[in-house]
C-alpha cells in the first residue's frame, strides 16, 4: 500500500501492464511527449521508460487512433489508446461502435478485440461543451462495448489493469477532476473485477447510486441527510457495462428507494436505465418514486455561473432523497 494520486495510480497501472505483457502498447495525442509535465498525468514518463516502439504519439486523428486499436487488437496486441476529451470520442465512434462492438459478434465468435480506450472526462474547467460532454450513455447503449468509471485511486488502477487484460473492448472514463486526489493504492498487479459495484456506506432508508466524481457530490450530501435522520446506502457503480444489477436490486429491496446521481444530462442518461431496471425488477419493493439527479438538457456551459446550474450539487441530492422519502 502507498499513497498515490488518481493520476499516478493510472500511471502505475499502465506501467505494470506494459511490464508484464509485451503486447501492450499505448497510443494517442501527446501520450509520449506532452504539453504537461505533470506526474499526475496517466502517461507521464512512459515514453522514457518504454520507448517509441510502445508509446506512440499519434497525429490528431481520433478515427485512426480507434481504428489502430481495433485492427491491432484483432491481431492479438493489447492496445491502450487515449481520447483526449470525452466529446472527441464522437470522431472515434464509427471504429468503436460499428467495429469494436460488432465485429466479434459478426465473426461468430472467431475474432476478439482486447482493446482499451482511456477517455478524459470532466465538467467545470471552463472549456465549454466541445471539451466537456459525458457520453457514457451512448457507449452503454452500444452492444459489445464495456465501460467503467473509477472514483478512487485504487479503482483507477484496478479497473484499468482489468480493462487492459479483459478480452473485450473496454472504455475507461477518467474524471479529470479526480486526477490530483490521493488515496491508498495497493502495490503490484491488482485487478478490480468489471461489473462489481462498491458499497460505500450501508443504510436503510434510501439507495443512492453514483459513479466518478458524482460520488463525491453524494458524499457531501450524506452528512446533511444523516443529520435529518435519513440513512442512505451509497453505491459506487464503478462499472456501467457490465452492470452489477444484483447489488442495486438487493439494496433497493432493502431500502425501498433509489436515487441515481450523475453529471451527464438527466434526459436519457444512465440513470434512466437504472430507474427502468428497478421498476421492472423490484417494483414491489419501492416505497417512493425513483429519482434521478443529473444535468439539465443543455450543452455544458462555459461561464462559471452557468456551470453551477449545470453541475448537480449536494443540495440537489438532498432534495431528491427528501422527495422520494416524502420528507
Amino acid at each position: 500500500m502507498s499513497q498515490k494520486t488518481f493520476g499516478q495510480a493510472l500511471n502505475d497501472a499502465l506501467t505494470i501492464a506494459m511490464e508484464i505483457d509485451e503486447n501492450v502498447f499505448i497510443a494517442g495525442e501527446g501520450v509520449g511527449v506532452s504539453i504537461h509535465q505533470d506526474p499526475n498525468m496517466a502517461t507521464h514518463g512512459l515514453l522514457k521508460k518504454f520507448g517509441r516502439k510502445r508509446v506512440k504519439d499519434t497525429p490528431v486523428s481520433e478515427a485512426a487512433i480507434a481504428g489502430l486499436a481495433v485492427g491491432a487488437s484483432c491481431m492479438g496486441l493489447r492496445p491502450v489508446v487515449e481520447i483526449m476529451f470525452f466529446p472527441f470520442i464522437t470522431l472515434a465512434s464509427d471504429m468503436l461502435v460499428n467495429h469494436a462492438g460488432k465485429l466479434g459478434y459478426m465473426s461468430g465468435g472467431k475474432s476478439s478485440f482486447p482493446l482499451t480506450v482511456r477517455v478524459k472526462a470532466g465538467v467545470g474547467f471552463g472549456a465549454g461543451s466541445q471539451h466537456s460532454h459525458n457520453l457514457e450513455s451512448w457507449i452503454a447503449h452500444s452492444p459489445g462495448l464495456k465501460i467503467v468509471w473509477p472514483a478512487t485511486p485504487e479503482d483507477a488502477k484496478g479497473l484499468l489493469l482489468t480493462a487492459i487484460f479483459d478480452p473485450d473492448p473496454v472504455i475507461v472514463v477518467e474524471d479529470m477532476m479526480l486526477y490530483r486526489m490521493s488515496g491508498e493504492v495497493p502495490a503490484g498487479d491488482i485487478r478490480t473485477p468489471l461489473g462489481k459495484a462498491r458499497m460505500v456506506t450501508s443504510g436503510t432508508d434510501c439507495t443512492i447510486v453514483a459513479y466518478g466524481v458524482a460520488l463525491y457530490t453524494v458524499m457531501k450530501a450524506f452528512k446533511p441527510l444523516s443529520e435529518q435522520g435519513i440513512s442512505c446506502e451509497v453505491i459506487d457503480l464503478r462499472s456501467l457495462v457490465p452492470l452489477d444489477k444484483a447489488c442495486i436490486l438487493d439494496s433497493v429491496r432493502k431500502t425501498g428507494r433509489l436515487v441515481v446521481v450523475h453529471e451527464a444530462n438527466r434526459f436519457c442518461g444512465f440513470g434512466a436505465e437504472l430507474a427502468a431496471m428497478v421498476a421492472e425488477e423490484a417494483f414491489e419493493a419501492l416505497k417512493g418514486p425513483v429519482k434521478r439527479v443529473g444535468a439539465p438538457q443543455i450543452p455544458v456551459p462555459t461561464a462559471p455561473t452557468h456551470e453551477k446550474i449545470f453541475k448537480p450539487g449536494p443540495e440537489d441530492v438532498v432534495l431528491a432523497v427528501r422527495e422520494t422519502m416524502k420528507k
Partner: protein
C-alpha cells in the same frame, strides 16, 4: 473592392491590425496570470498575426470565415468589436455571445465570422457547407476556413477537400502551419512535409507562403480568393509560421528548443513589418507610436468593458438550445 496593389493606406491597415491583435493577446496573457480572471483555456496566436491579418484583409465582408480554437486574430482582423470580444473571452454577459462561447467558441455571425469550432478538423466540413450555400444561392461571397497543421490529419479535412473539389465550391482552405500540434511537431504528424501539396489530390490549386510576411500572405490570398470567387472551385493555401507561445497559456513549452524559438522570434511578423514601413518611409517612429498606443488604449478600454459586465445570470443558462423550445 480590395486593393490589388500594396499601397500605403493598406500597409498601415495591415500593421494596425497585427499590432492590435498582438496587444489584445498580450493583455490576455497578463490577465490569465491573475486568478479567476480568465476562466477556461487561453489559446493565443502570438507570432501568427500576419496570417490572420493578411488573409482576412483580402476578403470582402460578404465572405464567410470559419475559425478554430486559435481564433482571436481572425476575429480582430475582421473588425470585430473589441469590447464585446474581450467581454466574451472573460465569459461575461456583455460578450458577443452573451457569455455562452468563452474564448474557444467565439463567433460573430453579424460579421460573417459564422462559426468557430474547437473540435480540431471540424472547420473544413462546416466551411464546405457554407460554401455550398453560397454556390446554391449564387452569392458573390466565398468561404475561408482556417485550420492547423494538426487538423490536417483529421479525416474530416480530407473529406471536405474532396467534396469541395468535386462540386467546385467557392472555398479557400487556409492551413496555418505553425510547426506544432500540441507537443507534436508537424514533421511527426504529417506524412508529407507540405500540406499544400495535397491540393493536387483534390484537383485544386495549392500554394504555400511565408506566413510571417503579411504582404506575401495578402498577395497570395488575393490571388486565391479571386480564383475561388470566379467559380473555378476551391483552393488551398498553406501559411508557414510558428506558434510562439505554448499551445495554451498553461503550456510552459518544456519540449521546445529555445534556439528554434529565437530563430522565429527574429522573424516576428510585426517587428519585421514595422521595420519595413519605417525603411520605406510609409510611417515614421512617431506615427508607429501613435498606432501602438492607440491599440493599447483600445485594449484597455475593452478590459474595462469586460470588468464592468457580469457573468451571465442563471436565466440565460437554459436558453438558446432550440430556436423553438419544446413546451415543457
Amino acid at each position: 473592392m480590395k486593393e490589388n496593389q500594396i499601397v500605403p493606406d493598406l500597409q498601415i491597415r495591415l500593421y494596425t491590425s497585427m499590432i492590435l491583435t498582438r496587444k489584445f493577446e498580450e493583455k490576455i496573457v497578463a490577465l490569465s496570470q491573475e486568478p479567476y480572471r480568465m476562466p477556461g483555456m487561453q489559446i493565443l496566436a502570438n507570432g501568427q498575426e500576419a496570417v490572420a491579418t493578411g488573409i482576412v484583409s483580402a476578403l470582402e465582408l460578404e465572405d464567410v470565415i470559419i475559425s478554430n480554437h486559435r481564433s482571436h486574430g481572425h476575429l480582430l482582423a475582421r473588425g470585430a468589436d473589441l469590447n464585446s470580444l474581450m467581454a466574451e473571452i472573460m465569459v461575461k454577459d456583455k460578450g458577443v455571445n452573451g457569455g455562452k462561447a468563452g474564448t474557444l467558441h467565439l463567433s460573430v455571425p453579424d460579421l460573417n465570422v459564422l462559426m468557430t469550432s474547437t473540435v480540431v478538423g471540424a472547420g473544413p466540413p462546416l466551411a464546405m457547407g457554407a460554401a455550398f450555400a453560397q454556390q446554391y444561392k449564387r452569392a458573390k461571397g466565398i468561404t475561408v476556413v482556417f485550420f492547423g497543421d494538426g487538423a490536417a490529419a483529421e479525416g474530416s479535412v480530407h473529406e471536405a477537400m474532396n467534396l469541395a473539389g468535386v462540386w467546385k465550391l467557392p472555398l479557400l482552405f487556409v492551413c496555418e502551419n505553425n510547426c506544432w500540434a500540441g507537443a507534436q511537431r508537424s514533421e511527426e504528424h504529417c506524412a508529407a512535409q507540405h500540406i499544400f501539396q495535397r491540393a493536387k489530390g483534390y484537383d485544386m490549386p495549392g500554394q504555400s507562403v511565408d506566413g510571417n510576411d503579411v504582404e506575401a500572405v495578402y498577395n497570395l490570398a488575393l490571388e486565391l480568393v479571386e480564383y475561388c470567387r470566379s467559380g473555378k472551385g476551391p483552393a488551398l493555401m498553406e501559411a508557414l509560421t510558428y506558434r510562439m507561445r505554448g499551445h495554451g497559456e498553461q503550456d510552459q513549452q518544456h519540449y521546445v528548443d529555445p534556439g528554434e524559438l529565437a530563430i522565429w522570434e527574429a522573424k516576428c511578423p510585426i517587428r519585421l513589418y514595422r521595420q519595413k514601413l519605417l525603411n520605406d518611409g510609409v510611417l515614421n517612429q512617431a506615427q508607429i507610436q501613435t498606432i501602438d498606443q492607440d491599440a493599447e488604449t483600445r485594449v484597455s478600454a475593452a478590459v474595462a468593458f469586460g470588468d464592468d459586465s457580469s457573468y451571465p445570470g442563471p436565466e440565460t443558462a437554459l436558453t438558446d438550445v432550440f430556436v423553438q423550445p419544446p413546451s415543457a
